[in-house]
Symmetry: C2
């Protein structure tokens, strides 16, 4: 039988296991032009939370009682499509199913001999593209500038910081545990890192870690941490607004310090970043990321949980910061 | 004798007359290379409020017990500088004094035969440049798009709206009285205008006035009005953050709806605009504004108060929205 995970209820606040429903169905038959895929790795990402609401956004909301989709690596186990052969490995936006069929549209073949399979959901997938393109297209870092990254130990943040260092910037990470802070400095080369859970005065802590002020803020979290950055920005600062995980589960509209007066005083820019708007830049970005990875200039971290049944809980754990780097489920 | 207005105290909240001090001194003697100027028109502008605080900003704060400066039109009444002749009219950032000397640096000669003198502080001065360059450099309007302007009956806002119409956009103004709203629609060609003082649900009112959503928001006011615009933005919306008059007098940090989730969902951009960063674009902008003015495509409104002694009160009145268009004092 073939397990599938449906969105049973739209979460109110933090997602609960009861918002998801497991169903079993027969593995579908494939017809001409189709392939049968067996899921190997499933990516869980904060942005999926937004799609669970019934609200207009850059991607349409998930439908109730339908499978959830996310980035998945799958193996072709049967093919009636000449473009695919049994044993091929592909990456794409696919359903949370053990097995599913596809016409191959939108799937990208991946090469397990060039990089570990899981990397194609992380540093060589949307995660890496988001980090690279968000930082370069909106942040536009110049050598010697200071970059602050929130959610720095997360999938995107940990890559942003490393790219910042490769490009010659001072990089300050913000994360939620001492272990993460230590890892950012010792393993990922961040110049400074701040544990927001144990720091009383974030404004002062950022000032100390970024004595020349903040030129780029790569924002994965929103909320009070982002407010504190505002007090430390330089003229012409750029804010890459990539995520707001701290408020995704809010049931009321979050309020913050008004950013507008800070933007005026500093001629600063704040821009929402969605990687899907930069499709034409993917090849260049992928090329650069693969090169840095091959040269050992870029490392990545993963938190891999085993078992299809653990997908919902693993997704929920994202909001507790239980991951270090990319959060994945291996089936 | 020669009257001068000093900043006597840094205002707390709304400026008071007691924050200013009038002193009299003798008219200074000029030496070689200098000119003596007699003030003709004084511009009062919301941004001056920021300079009255002792806080880092894009221009240094005014010094206590020193004259306040703003945009001024003056007449050369004596000259020992070969570049200027008695009777010349100039525009520049000058002190709030009846008479003052200058070495001529930073002064621009203006031609009273080409446009009324006061226009050189308004539509052909910083005000017009701010409207034109803010809208075109950050807003980047495309024909058919919808522009919302707050402070629409103010000096900058009233020009922004007219330029929006010239460029083929739908323009919605937000202002604070029924008279202003009527004027925006009848005299300035705005498609719609909203009185925020009598409108209970601003989100709904903006939605009705901008049925295709908001592509550009030219923000002169900040605060709750700007919050309401957020709920109506389109994908790739641009926010020109030009002013925040609604919060300039706040003594506590203003709080607003968090903008970051809206920016992410809509891949939207928010950028602080200071006209002084675009000096290299002034000639092109001035040229365009003069042309539109000469062609009768652009009109401007002024609120002119007479008398040097009325400068502080006129400045204070800006925050009550007592002006329609550019607020000036004629000496």
């Amino acid at each position: 039988m073939n397990k599938t995970i449906l969105l049973e209820k739209r979460p109110v606040g933090k997602p609960q296991l009861t918002d998801f429903k497991f169903v079993s169905e027969k593995v579908e038959e494939i017809t001409a032009g189709e392939i049968l895929l067996k899921t190997v790795y499933v990516s869980v990402d904060p942005y999926l939370r937004g799609r669970m609401n019934d609200a207009k956004s850059y991607t349409p909301p998930f439908e109730l009682h339908k499978p959830i989709t996310s980035g998945i690596i799958a193996e072709v186990v049967a093919s009636k499509n000449p473009a695919f052969t049994k044993g091929d490995l592909v990456s794409g936006m696919l359903d949370w199913k053990e097995f599913q069929k596809s016409d191959g549209e939108g799937l990208l073949k991946v090469d397990a001999t060039k990089a570990p399979l899981s990397a194609y959901l992380g540093v060589l997938g949307m995660t890496g593209l988001t980090a690279y393109l968000g930082l370069t297209e909106i942040g536009k870092p110049k050598k010697g500038e200071t970059i602050v990254v929130s959610g720095a130990a997360g999938a995107v943040g940990s890559i942003v910081g490393q790219i910042g260092k490769i490009l010659g910037c001072r990089v300050v990470g913000i994360a939620g545990t001492d272990e993460k802070v230590a890892m950012l400095k010792s393993s990922l080369g961040f110049d400074e890192a701040i544990n927001y859970n144990t720091t009383k005065n974030m404004v002062a802590a950022i000032k100390e870690a970024a004595p020349n002020g903040v030129d780029i803020y790569f924002d994965n979290v929103g909320g009070p941490i982002s407010d504190a950055v505002l007090f430390n920005i330089n003229q012409f600062a750029r804010f890459v607004i990539c995520g707001a995980i701290s408020v995704y589960n809010n049931t009321e509209l979050p309020k913050s310090v008004s950013v507008q007066p800070f933007l005026i005083k500093n001629s600063a820019l704040m821009q929402g970043f969605i990687v899907f708007n930069y499709v034409e830049k993917y090849p260049e970005a992928m090329n650069q990321l693969s090169k840095w990875l091959a040269d050992g200039k870029l490392t990545y971290r993963e938190t891999i949980v085993e078992g299809f049944d653990n997908i919902p809980q693993t997704f929920i754990d994202l909001f507790e910061g239980k991951n270090s780097g990319k959060m994945l489920i291996k089936i």
